[in-house]
């Protein structure tokens, strides 16, 4: 009996819908812009969408079977470009293939300018019970500067409909995305943004700091000296302020970029930070059902080719359970530390396969590397759990994570690659998939 027999099979699925009206100025995702008039079933872009959906359905049908799904996430791109019928048939296909657990979390990412009240009502009727709204900003000038299509009014309307749906009980939860550290932003304008966000009564807020990615309009502007971003001092004050303000409003800072009213943390996203596996479908989507991550091709043609090769030459190996490879202890610590509760190092290293002496001596080495982070209070310990302090530790998390990488590189080979040992450790991942 090896690792593969005790790894937990994935109970989550991510589906990528790459279509957008336009590419936003900061975005480097795998997206396919179709123009402002694009529609899901008829009209401009619909043939592209239909052709893509065919491939997507094909990919789902080629996937190995697994237990019923606890979370499904339709992300993008702009999934709300699809018609409710198109979304419904995707969900139907997933339901037929895997089944859905009772009370499964089914999230749809929505763009404020791409739907109305009826549309929302329809997608709720076909099984969507969580929405993630790409608000980004409440300021019309800022939105235009980001290359977004929606306006302040679109966003306010969308938030009102979502809140009403939640109050009625048609929607279980919803999230609002906000971008921090935008060009020209100062402390008071940021406070104003946060206050407006709180007024929407969204029970979940994702606050991302803008990062300049290669190949984007923003990168080009930055190179030409036309992008005036807040300096580090200001940006760090914004982070501290965000954490304080939202805590007072009853939110838990449960992951570096995510805040939720208790009970509203995204179950799907927690899977990514827990080390458990997930299925992935669609162009550019990453899957990691059995420990190994695999990213699909990012263009339509190469994705098409890849689906064909899946069909005729056999499945990508990371999708096959018998080739399971567990997530390295290093990765589990790196992603686990993003969470409020941090990591239980002893439990993780035991399940990784180290014996007691090894755990004790190797972990001691890590603590030595974390010495100054402890002194500064960036990292803290409660019982067996190690976690980043909020907000200072989280804000400077890279400094802590880098030491994990350096520690891992300094360990003996048979400590980091257990396959070089004669007896393989047995491990159970179940304790990692802890529910909220």
């Amino acid at each position: 009996m090896g690792v593969k027999d005790v790894l937990m099979p994935p109970r989550s699925a991510y589906v990528h819908i790459p279509f957008c009206h336009r590419r936003c100025f900061y975005c480097d995702f795998a997206v396919v812009p179709l123009g402002d008039r694009a529609r899901g079933s008829v009209g401009p872009g619909s043939s592209s969408i239909n052709a893509y959906l065919k491939l997507l359905h094909k990919e789902v049908s080629l996937c190995p079977y697994g237990p019923p799904l606890a979370t499904v996430y339709l992300g993008g791109g702009t999934p709300s470009l699809l018609t409710p019928q198109q979304i419904s048939s995707l969900l139907e296909n997933l339901r037929n293939h895997f089944g859905f657990q009772q009370g499964a979390e089914v999230t749809l990412e929505m763009d404020p300018a791409s739907f109305d009240r009826e549309y929302l009502q329809k997608v709720l009727e076909i099984g969507i019970n969580r929405v993630s709204l790409g608000g980004q900003s409440f300021d019309d000038t800022v939105l235009a500067g980001l290359g977004r299509r929606h306006t302040h009014q679109h966003l306010i309307n969308a938030c009102r409909w979502l809140n009403n749906a939640k109050v009625r009980g048609d929607l279980v939860s919803w999230n609002l995305d906000l971008l921090q550290g935008l060009p020209g932003q100062d402390l008071s304008s940021w406070i104003n943004q946060l206050e407006q966000a709180l007024e929407t009564r969204a029970p979940h807020l994702s606050i991302y700091e803008l990062s300049i990615e290669s190949g984007t309009v923003f990168e080009w502007k930055q190179k030409r000296g036309e992008l005036f971003l807040p300096d580090e001092e200001l940006a760090s004050e914004m982070m501290i302020l965000t954490s304080e303000l939202l805590r007072k409003a009853g939110f838990s800072h449960y992951e570096i970029s995510n805040y939720a009213i208790p009970g509203h943390a995204s179950r799907h996203n927690r899977v990514y930070w827990s080390g458990a596996g997930w299925w992935g479908f669609g162009l550019g989507a990453t899957s990691s059902p059995w420990g190994q991550r695999f990213a699909r091709p990012r263009t339509r043609n190469s994705y098409d080719q890849w689906i064909k090769s899946q069909e005729y030459n056999g499945l990508e190996s990371s999708l096959i359970s018998s080739l399971a490879k567990e997530l390295s202890l290093e990765d589990q610590i790196l992603i686990g530390l993003r969470r409020k509760e941090g990591v239980n190092l002893i439990a993780l290293s035991e399940s990784w396969g180290w014996n007691n002496e090894e755990s004790a001596s190797f972990l001691e080495l890590l603590k030595i590397r974390w010495k100054s982070a402890f002194e500064k209070g960036w990292i803290q310990q409660k019982g067996r759990r190690f976690f980043l302090s909020d907000p200072r530790g989280m804000m400077i998390s890279n400094q802590v994570l880098i030491e994990v990488i350096r520690w891992w590189e300094s360990l003996p080979l048979d400590a980091v690659d257990l396959s070089s040992r004669e007896v393989l450790p047995r491990k159970v991942l179940s304790h990692l998939v802890g529910e909220d």
Partner: protein, 601 residues
């Protein structure tokens, strides 16, 4: 090898500027004489080290023996002795020239004579070598052989009426070159009956056979049965092997006066068989060695420290091993409160320093901090003592010293005349004293300056190249010491003195250097978890200061399923950068900060 009489031996070398096509020409000669079959041809056969091939320069010389059927229908043996093409290695060049009777002077038919070439031509003329001018790359569109011929005649005074036009690339002129080597270069003198004297012109370390010594027999003979004596090191050896390079080593039983070959004799380090030393026979030794032997004298010094203190023993072992094959490399342990344990190393010049550093990192997998290069200062103390200082941080306090002298070089720069102004500006900035300016042709000049060596080793060469779009070339040699008003400039990082950043500068420049240095360091040292003051001081007086504010934020925002791998890559890159930093007190200092003084404008 007695099958060819001395009268049919020819020993020659190639003198050329970097890039003028020496190695390609050598390859062609090997091909043409059938010494190396075309299929075995590696590009640039004579340059053995990877580093040489990558940089396109010859560092260690090699040799090759070719058999050539000349126009008179006789078999000739032609020994090509390769020479290194860089100013750092001029002593080695002089020894290999001494091993020859003639030289091919290879000049690029569009670029003309360069400083380095000229220096070597003069060396060759001093050694009485027959020089055959060859104009290379005549196939290129910019080639102007007539103009270059004129240039050679007016600069060197060499008759170019029979200069050979050649293209090593296309093969044009290769046969003529071989024939004129036979016709023009005299055979070695036949001194077979004299006591044996063989000149070592190269040696390298082979981990299995010990040092392999390349030599030219000037008189007498050496056989495999002989016991040899090396006259400078006074060590004697029994021979394991004697042979020729064709160009791969092949064994013979005996070599005679005039011939070029190699021996292996379980010699432990190249320092025991130095270039320029004389090999003689133990039972019939020569009365005195060949002239011209010199100890290698390092001119440039720097500190080498492992970034990770645990690598200190590895660094020591690596230096020990490198020294087996590099007699010019000198080192001794250095301890610095800021840097921990390391070594103070001496090199022939900057290139030599870079090569050693690169070999340590590449071949021995070490992460090193290299401090800015320094020269040897002569310090006259109040108590009449004189001490030599190769490490600026060890300069005695002003109260104890009377004066400081620094080494000066005479530098000759060759460049098209439109760069006169910028080059004179550069020399002046570097405290150079104008000596002379000569027009060598109507549009090319030689500038001659006397300049402190310390100013030359701090990126003078790069500056010269960049200010002249690469058209200038230079040559320098040491002329002696001169007293100057010099001061020690210290750098304090987080209020602690950073020894490796200490420099010795002229008092008049100390403020601008100090200010530039702290500004540069502020740029090069990344923000850390606390505020870091950076100061420059002379004695206890702070002359410039800056500070690096504390890092407050370092975080990867969004991180979902698809992002995890990408984000980890970013973290790994950051971790790698950190690994290459050296902890000085609490501050992590990146490698390039130690070279900050070289990056001032």
């Amino acid at each position: 090898m007695t099958d060819v009489p001395v009268s049919r031996l020819r020993n020659f070398c190639i003198i050329a500027h970097i890039d003028h096509g020496k190695s390609t020409l050598a390859d062609r000669l090997l091909q043409e004489t059938g010494t190396v079959a075309v299929r075995e041809m590696q590009e640039q056969y004579l340059d053995n080290m990877d580093l040489e091939r990558e940089r396109g320069i010859t560092i260690k010389l090699q040799a090759a023996r070719m058999n050539y059927l000349a126009a008179d229908n006789h078999q000739y043996v032609l020994n090509l002795i390769d020479t290194p093409g860089h100013v750092d290695f001029s002593y080695e060049v002089s020894r290999s020239l001494q091993a020859c009777e003639g030289a091919l002077l290879v000049v690029d038919a569009s670029q003309g004579v360069e400083a380095q070439t000229l220096a070597n031509v003069y060396l060759a003329l001093e050694n009485d070598l027959e020089i055959i001018p060859v104009l290379n790359k005549v196939d290129l569109p910019g080639a102007d052989p007539e103009r270059i011929k004129e240039e050679i005649e007016s600069i060197i005074g060499l008759d170019t009426s029979e200069a050979i036009l050649c293209s090593a690339k296309t093969g044009l002129g290769i046969k003529e070159i071989l024939q004129s080597v036979v016709n023009k270069i005299p055979p070695p003198k036949d001194e077979i009956n004299e006591p044996t004297k063989a000149l070592i012109f190269d040696s390298y370390y082979d981990p299995y056979r010990g040092v392999i010594v390349y030599f030219r027999i000037m008189s007498g003979s050496i056989s495999i049965k002989d016991k040899v004596l090396l006259m400078a090191s006074q060590k004697s050896y029994e021979l394991d092997e004697i042979g020729i390079m064709s160009p791969n080593q092949s064994r013979v039983s005996e070599l005679h006066s005039g011939e070029v070959g190699y021996i292996a004799a379980s010699i432990k380090a190249v320092a025991d068989a130095r270039v320029g030393d004389t090999i003689t026979l133990l039972n019939r030794p020569a009365s005195k060695p060949l002239p011209g032997y010199k100890e290698a004298k390092p001119m440039v010094f720097c500190g080498l420290f492992p970034t990770d203190a645990d690598q200190y023993p590895d660094l020591r072992d690596a230096l020990d091993k490198l020294q087996l094959s590099d007699a010019a490399l000198k080192y001794e342990p250095e301890t610095s409160s800021a840097m921990g344990f390391g070594f103070r190393c001496g090199f022939l010049g900057l290139l030599h320093m870079e090569i050693v550093q690169e070999r340590l990192e590449r071949e021995y997998d070490l992460d090193l901090i290299v401090t800015a290069p320094s020269v040897v200062y002569k310090v006259n103390m109040i108590n009449k003592e004189t001490i030599m200082i190769d490490n600026p941080s060890l300069l005695p306090d002003p109260q104890k010293r009377d004066s400081i002298e620094e080494p000066y070089v005479r530098i000759e720069i060759y460049a098209p005349n439109q760069y006169n102004g910028t080059l004179m500006g550069l020399c002046q900035e570097r405290r150079g004293e104008y000596i002379d300016m000569k027009y060598i042709t109507t549009d090319r000049v030689t500038l001659i300056y006397e300049i402190p060596l310390a100013e030359v080793v701090t990126n003078f060469f790069d500056q010269m190249k960049s200010r002249t779009q690469g058209y200038a070339s230079m040559e320098y040699h040491l002329i002696g010491y001169k007293a100057n008003d010099l001061v020690r400039l210290d750098v304090l990082i987080n209020s602690e003195r950073a020894d490796p950043l200490t420099t010795i500068v002229h008092r008049d420049n100390s403020y601008s250097v100090g200010k530039g240095l702290v500004e540069k360091l502020k740029e090069l040292i990344p923000r850390q978890q606390f505020k870091i003051p950076i100061q420059a001081s002379i004695g206890s007086r702070i002359i410039a200061s800056e500070s690096i504010s504390a890092m407050r934020k370092d975080v990867l925002a969004k991180c979902y399923g698809g992002d995890i791998s990408r984000k980890k890559k970013l973290l790994k890159k950051q971790a790698k950068g950190k690994k290459r930093m050296k902890a000085m007190g609490k501050v992590e200092v990146p490698q390039d900060a130690f070279m900050a003084v070289l990056k001032l404008n």
